[in-house]
Amino acid sequence: MNKRSIVALKVVVWLVCFTPLALLVYRGFSNDLGPDPTATVTHATGFTTLRLLVISLAITPLRRLSPRLAWLVRFRRLLGLFAFFYGCLHLLTWLWLYSGFSVAAMADDIGKRRYVMAGMAAWLLLVPLAATSTNWSIRKLGGKRWQALHRLAYVSAICGVIHYWWIVKSGVRTPITITLVLAVLLLARIVWSVRQKVSRQAGVVTAS
């Protein structure tokens, strides 16, 4: 893929990633956030965070399917940072609309409610990733260490999915789709790394 197409595609990705926020702002100003605006904003920001995070995690497994998809990696940081951005908005709904910025209410919530803990963990895990998202950080940390650190994205997504399961009513299975997608991505990673190990060992055997 040539440079021009990448730039064009990046513009599209930016626009698409801003769409959920733009829609919320538009609906907010036209008084059209539905019967329960607090829930509308909370759910929209939460869904978007989780979806973007999972999409960003899909890039590496997809890229491995074919060398011709190598260009995909150039969108990973963008998607990851957008996921963090929506995660921050989602956190803000809790700080503002649910807790009214009351520290006592927040402490109570975090201490008592496991879904808040899981959500908080998911967000906290994204913080170091967003902070080390620059090329400078990659150089500074070194490729291997940077990569190891950024595997936390998977842990964050798992926490996010657990957070989702813990907030829906028992018996409700709406989080199943995102869970399955994440599971497939994790499985693809495991299969890949096992195959790598086997072929490396095979390589060692042949060499000796």
Partner: protein, 347 residues
């Protein structure tokens, strides 16, 4: 069944004429005698017919009196059938009802799907006529009653109640119905009956949620007998002076305003009297989260979220939140039902 143009001052006649099935007849007459003794609605108390026919004018008057917000557009007014109501001292005053649109488009009725807008989209296929309700279990005699009989059994009252969902949102709804106790008296439960169970229609051909959601279907709910007999417990047929839309539990449901919304079973086909606490859908599913009592209580949190405050549906985003009231504000009337009970244990 004729509900005369003059409203309910002719209720006696309506009831007698309306009973068709032989078995029900005797009981109805017996039931009726009892009603006659307890109360007769004086004509003067009946809300003028013009109030229903020209509700908008009526509401303008209400708005002028300071009941702001009543004057909201109700798009489905035209296609819903009217259900004339009389005033009731048991109605909660001083509240601004949630808009008809929100009450009828933001629903939890899992038989029709889990999303709030699913019931409004999917419930239309449910047939609410003919409809029969079976009354059985620990009663003198098993009975079946048609919706028409139920509708004409007692004057339909307008009861504005707060409605608090266990999910921490709330509404104010002008329900239409009469106290469930009227029906229970007619049903003649045996002295050993201590609980009432309500069962909702289970029809997979019109209820996609039955396959999608993992609850013990049919949906069941229950009350202790004294709760069911409490005058606030409403056998409900309508809202905003019209018959219930399907998504709100047509053609007949119960409303228990001091309990979380899921206790108020919708689209009831059976009322079952038992000696022991009956099984109830959400309590079966997650007993730690949904108690049998499920009284609205800001001091007992749901294991997964706080019940201290609630989001009022239809309010602007930054003024939605308001404190939750003990027994949803009906403590004066119902707290005595739970004297000596540890409400943290019996949540």
């Amino acid at each position: 069944m004729r509900v005369g143009p003059h409203g309910f001052h002719c209720i006696k006649k309506t009831v007698r004429v309306g009973v068709t099935c032989g078995q029900a007849r005797a009981s109805y007459c017996r039931g009726f005698m009892l009603i006659k003794k307890t109360k007769e609605i004086p004509y003067s108390e009946i809300t003028p017919k013009s109030a229903y026919l020209n509700r908008r004018t009526f509401m303008t008057g209400a708005a002028a009196l300071g009941v702001a917000g009543l004057l909201q557009p109700r798009p489905s007014l035209a296609d819903a059938a009217k259900l004339p109501t009389v005033k009731s001292p048991l109605s909660t005053s001083g509240l601004t009802p949630t808009s008809y649109k929100d009450i009828t488009s933001y629903n939890n009725f899992y038989e029709f799907g889990v999303e709030k807008d699913n019931p409004a989209k999917n419930a239309g296929k449910m047939k609410t006529r003919p409809w029969k309700v079976t009354v059985d279990g620990l009663v003198k005699q098993k009975k079946t009653v048609s919706i028409e009989e139920l509708l004409s059994f007692k004057p339909i009252e307008e009861r504005v109640y707060r409605h608090r969902c266990v999910e921490a949102w709330s509404m104010v709804i002008p329900w239409a119905g009469y106290s469930l106790s009227e029906l229970i008296n007619w049903a003649e439960p045996l002295p050993k009956a201590k609980y009432v169970q309500f069962l909702t229609l289970e029809d997979a051909s019109v209820m996609p949620g039955l396959r999608e959601i993992n609850l013990n279907w049919p949906y069941s709910e229950g009350l202790r007998m004294d709760e069911a007999m409490h005058p606030l417990t409403l056998l409900t047929f309508g809202l905003y002076g019209e018959v219930l839309p399907n998504q709100d539990g047509a053609p007949v449901r119960v409303v228990i305003p001091w309990k979380y919304g899921f206790k108020s079973a919708k689209s009831i086909v059976k009322i079952h009297f038992t000696a022991d606490q009956p099984s109830t859908a959400w309590n079966d599913m997650a007993p730690r989260e949904y108690g049998f009592y499920s009284n609205v209580n800001p001091n007992v949190d749901h294991p997964r979220w706080s019940q201290k405050s609630e989001r009022r549906i239809g309010a602007p985003i930054f003024s939605q939140r308001q404190p939750t009231l003990m027994f949803n504000g009906y403590g004066d009337q119902v707290a005595s039902l739970y004297n000596g009970m540890d409400l943290k244990k019996y949540f």
